[in-house]
């Protein structure tokens, strides 16, 4: 029974299912807020989660990956992110319900009162600092900082992993070349974060938790932060082993596990399978024309086509927001490329939409 359950969990955690289930869970939590924001839901979740950990602890492979010193913070990250996501939605739901009844928000009600910084704020800060110091000291006594063999250029460890907070980006290397996964996407994340206050013109939800007043903004950030950042960090840390192959949490990290790479370029599909040509054109631009046309359509034509309905929905159809709209669309389309490429890889083994290795230009 125990072994079967382990196999089932391993099977459940493979990237395709892991991702699909995360999407379903996220939509369900946001959609059925009346249920998901109940206190019993989060308590139940943490009880079940702790029970799972306690059960899985005795498994040597699970134990090895969880107790690796540098992986401890990721367990903390998982627990805190889930708790605080729930807390924000919980408070948002209460506020939304209060507003429907004509009551002020929780923050609005309390915000009328002002209290002295000394003692109310400084004591909270002091207690937080003392508790955090205690936590860090106990953690430091219990678990030693890792030190491996001395650095050696000739011996490459397998797997070689970046620091844990960059493993989401390393995971993207499965689907994209380094110039996109390691340079363009991180740059767009930073630019995109900076642009948020200038793109979001919705004046509501400033200084209190809510969902119904900013459904698009909150859903987008949940998808971006929870689904594509935190959950990819967890995938890259716990579920990727030698050769960046997938390993379930209870699976032994076998150095010889090979996942055959049979990925095919879009141009190959076009010239061989669709047109039945024996040979693709030698000129790279002509060869990759179908992919280039698709990308141009995606980045240049799609924003124009969607301009009217989306402008009306997000910017009240005001012409003055046209620059905001196109900036937002450009950033969103780059972001959208990630799930699109993932789905194409999983369904038709697509390698590159445009693949010009001669110029290091592979998308």
């Amino acid at each position: 029974m125990s072994e079967q359950l382990k196999h089932f969990v391993d099977w459940l955690m493979q990237p395709t299912l892991y991702f699909a289930l995360s999407v379903v869970a996220l939509v369900a939590v946001l959609k059925f807020r009346a249920i998901s924001t109940k206190k019993s839901v989060i308590i139940g979740f943490f009880v079940l989660g702790t029970a799972f950990f306690a059960w899985a602890w005795s498994d040597p492979n699970f134990n090895k990956i969880i107790t690796k010193p540098d992986n401890v913070p990721i367990v903390i990250l998982l627990a805190t992110v889930i708790f605080f996501s729930w807390l924000s939605l919980h408070r948002g739901y209460i506020n939304d319900e209060r507003k429907k009844k004509g009551l002020p928000t929780l923050e609005g009600e309390l915000g009328k009162q002002k209290v002295f910084t000394w003692p109310d704020l400084v004591y909270t800060e002091l207690i937080c600092m003392v508790l955090f110091t205690a936590l860090l000291v106990i953690w430091s006594i219990k678990i030693g900082a890792p030190i491996e063999e001395p650095a050696a250029q000739a011996r490459t460890p397998n797997p070689s992993k970046a620091p844990w907070y960059f493993l989401g980006l390393q995971e993207l290397l499965v689907y994209f070349d380094p110039w996109i996964a390691g340079v363009l996407l991180p740059s767009f994340i930073i630019v995109g974060l900076c642009a948020i206050p200038y793109i979001d013109v919705n004046p509501k939800g400033n200084g209190y938790y809510t969902f119904e007043e900013r459904p698009f903004a909150i859903s987008f950030f949940w998808v971006g932060f929870l689904l594509f950042w935190v959950s990819f960090v967890i995938l890259g840390t716990f579920l990727r082993g030698p050769n960046w192959s997938f390993f379930g949490p209870f699976e032994y990290w076998d150095l010889h596990k090979l996942e055959p790479m049979v990925n095919i370029d879009l141009s190959t599909y076009f010239w061989f399978d669709l047109l039945g040509r024996p040979k693709a054109p030698s000129d790279p631009l002509l060869r990759e024309l179908p992919g280039i046309v698709l990308l141009l359509g995606y980045f240049a034509v799609l924003p124009v086509l969607l301009q009217k309905p989306l402008m009306a929905k997000l910017f009240d159809g005001k012409r003055e927001h046209i620059v905001r709209y196109h900036l937002m669309m450009h950033l969103l389309l780059w972001f959208g490329l990630i799930p699109i490429k993932m789905l194409l890889r999983w369904t038709i083994d697509l390698k590159y939409i445009v693949g010009i290795p001669e110029w290091f230009f592979n998308v």
Partner: protein, 258 residues
């Protein structure tokens, strides 16, 4: 006992430091905040909603606190660490072997990991409460840069133990720079930057080379990362933090409903 404290509070020495009585009256509570250099970051009075833990999660404050822990433990570690390829690993190893119940390196490493988490959660909270909206747009931007600096601080520090874990993590991370468009020797467009058939961008002068001071993670990279980790990035982060906190006050304090 109370008498003893009273007599201490009445000495010239005490009064020269603290210019107010015990903070149990509105006047003294105001003075406690106003006349203390560290506390005067705060306003005298705050909205009750703004100091609720379930509203702020205390994550920004904890991030700053962790930065202070990092500064103190990092300073102590610098006494025992020499950033050269011959000595770096030895020094870190000796720290573990020769110092009984030494936890400075542990405190430094675990606090660094926690700081990454708290800074993410702080950003998450600020987003979810819409606190980036006017008038706080600029401070959100300062925060984004501080978040990037936190990651860079952690990244540069990751190399310093100079063991296999460190060197290969930085190798994997910095390999990305090779593929920078135009500026990395394996990036798209790099071959366009040439003159008379001569390529300007190659493995010996691209951005990765500039980052690592070499073609691989070697001694040059160690020194470069050490200086950035101990001096460069902390200075930049401290400056931006000062601006960040100052702007919180100028933009109306901890956010709340308008």
């Amino acid at each position: 006992m109370g008498k003893l404290f009273d007599s201490i509070r009445n000495t010239q020495l005490w009064k020269s430091v603290f210019r107010h009585g015990y903070p149990d009256t509105p006047r003294n509570r105001t003075l406690a905040v106003l006349s203390n250099f560290f506390l005067h970051l705060h306003p005298v009075k705050v909205r009750r909603s703004g100091i609720q833990l379930s509203y702020t999660w205390c994550m920004g404050g904890l991030t700053f606190f962790l930065f202070l822990i990092e500064t103190i433990t990092g300073l102590l570690l610098m006494f025992y660490y020499r950033p050269t390829a011959e000595l770096a690993y030895q020094d870190i190893f000796a720290l573990r072997e020769h110092v009984p119940i030494g936890i400075m390196r542990e405190l430094h490493r675990w606090s660094a990991h926690m700081m990454v988490i708290t800074v993410w959660l702080h950003m998450y909270r600020v987003f979810l409460t819409g606190s980036y909206k006017p008038p706080r747009e600029f401070n959100w931007n300062v925060g984004v840069i501080l978040l990037v600096l936190t990651l860079l601080l952690s990244f540069t520090g990751y190399l310093l133990p100079w063991d296999q874990l460190a060197v290969w993590a930085i190798t994997v991370g910095s390999n990305m720079a090779r593929a920078t468009p135009f500026l990395g020797h394996e990036g798209p467009g790099a071959s366009l930057i040439s003159f008379g058939g001569l390529n300007f961008i190659h493995a010996g002068d691209d951005v990765r080379f500039g980052l690592l001071a070499g073609r691989f993670v070697g001694e040059g990279a160690l020194l470069r990362f050490y200086v950035l980790h101990c001096v460069g990035i902390p200075l930049a982060a401290a400056t931006l933090m000062a601006i960040h906190f100052w702007r919180v006050r100028k933009d109306g304090g901890i956010s709340g409903p308008l």
